[in-house]
Symmetry: none
Subunit: 192 residues, 4 copies
């Protein structure tokens, strides 16, 4: 990938993040790079492809990290802690990309459905495996509905896109610890 291509993807990430996919124009993105709109189309073939490119890399990375975790032999508790950490860390490492991914998923699904590795349902599935394993070993409660519980964790984590800003009061490491702890043990005070 050339430097220009990287610039374009970064610019698109920024503009999609600021304005949303539909409200962002290819003119905006080109201006952000400092090139003409027509030049954009020398590198990409459509605005939709650009959305995909913005999102692809960080997502593949996150999915791969969580896949590693699924396959590792670790207590479920640790797996969950690590997976939440990886998910939240992605917001730090590639904020606008993750924002765009979460916010514009409905616009992307059509494009992503063909790409097996990046499909959101693959991620959902990985998480279900983690929970399944914990239930199997007796580490996790069996009375909770698995898909719904995964959606719950997805919601907790993805919601960061609406409020989290890098360099704010809380870093993602702290947040991950808190969210993992809350998810695993609840927010109720209990006698140690």
């Amino acid at each position: 990938m050339t430097k220009r291509e990287q610039e374009i993807i970064a610019a698109a990430a920024k503009v999609f993040n600021e304005k949303g996919y539909h409200a962002a124009t290819t003119r905006d993105i080109a201006a952000e790079v400092g090139i003409q709109q027509a030049t954009l189309y020398y590198y990409i073939s459509s605005k939709e492809e650009l959305l995909y490119l913005v999102v692809r890399e960080p997502i593949v990375r996150l999915y791969d990290q969580v896949e590693e975790i699924v396959k590792a032999s670790l207590p479920s508790r640790t797996k969950i802690e690590r997976a939440i950490h990886a998910h939240l860390a992605a917001f730090d490492e590639s904020y606008p990309h993750m924002f765009v991914y979460v916010q514009e998923l409905p616009n992307l699904i059509h494009t992503l459905q063909d790409k097996i590795r990046e499909s959101p349902s693959r991620y959902q599935h990985l998480w279900e495996e983690i929970l399944q394993q914990g239930v199997a070993t007796g580490e996790l409660r069996a009375d909770l509905d698995m898909p719904a519980t995964v959606f719950m964790i997805m919601g907790m984590c993805n919601w960061l896109h609406r409020w989290y800003r890098k360099g704010g009061r809380l870093d993602t490491a702290t947040l991950a610890r808190q969210y993992a702890s809350a998810a695993l043990d609840g927010i109720t005070a209990r006698p140690s």
Copy 2:
């Protein structure tokens, strides 16, 4: 509010839900009502206002319910259970409106900033109070960051807009019980 106005808001909710705010056209909405595009403008002054109208009522209702809960004298545990239940129930009672609210909030903030009662930060604030009360009475853990914890619960609940469909395998009552239980006690198995 006349019957026509209600029809228009319902139609807009449906279309915004199906296509998203930007992709939805005023023509689509008018067609859904069975009137001409121009007639729409006899009742509303802009597409953006329509977005606001779609979202207002159910949101005000939800905010008011949670405000009641805040003011009630109940154990924090119960308050949290009830508030989560109210939030999820809103998806059943007015799914498209809630969907639009959650998905299009970023497009709305500009409009909502002036309207104190419906501002999302008011809702955030109500929840912080609930948690605060619990911490004060010792019912809830004090080691969790309050704003972040509220965002966590918001995320869990709001994420329903991405997957929940009325009449599916799980109803919102069941879901609310599970989510409240998970949030309060965690998903880890523990000796009763």
Copy 3:
């Protein structure tokens, strides 16, 4: 069809005639009508549809006239004279439309293929019937290839679009007489 629609079709015919379909712009056509480009799209749904509309009416009329002639009980000679006359007269009655039809047929075929009545092969077929009848009665030579002979007549007639201008030295009635005579009896001098 409203007056505006007629104006638009006439304007499109003129502009397509002057510049060709591809080189003509929707702006040109709108300007010719005296409206905005966007207004055009209140009446039509695409530039391609406009091409079809320009061509439809005169073509349907011509096809119907020739169909009448096929069904009439007349000597083949007369049928051929009349059909050539009808074809050339179309250039007088609706010059730009006929020009566009002949010149842009390759661009139209895709659109016309679905519309049975206006398909160019239907016209070709009508003419083959006329010639067939003449061969059957012994009025016409049987040694000529029928399809090729029809194409020959089509070529003679359609070529007018490249040179004929209304109000010029020759009118289509005169031309039709000459072309029919040449086609039927040849251009060789022969002893009466």
Copy 4:
């Protein structure tokens, strides 16, 4: 003319033939040659020039052939037979070029007007001479309008571009015989 230049002209002929001048892109043509778009401009100066180059050679050849025929001392009948044959044969020898010539003439006239030798009116003039000679010797009918009769023959012949395909049911030699016979003696059956 280098080999590359010939390749480019051949590729342009093919692409213009398949898509038409306006719909064909310089990228298409370059791809057909197997070079980059920019490289094209090392050999040619504009797309319009390419159109001219595509058409020039076969046209000059045809014009020259017919000029020879005009100057030969032969019966008019023979001259007409030979000229029609030459014209149709050109479709066999250089189909795409001839196609482009006939179909895109209106786009070319501007370019060709300056080039005396290739101007279509020169060709028209040669044919008028042939017919004139025949009228003068009494071989041809004098009651037909000369220009219109030449246009008639042009139409017959040029129309091949719309339907003739090399290797089809009829070859151009056969066709030329039929067309010449029809033009000279008519399509009416007559007692030998």
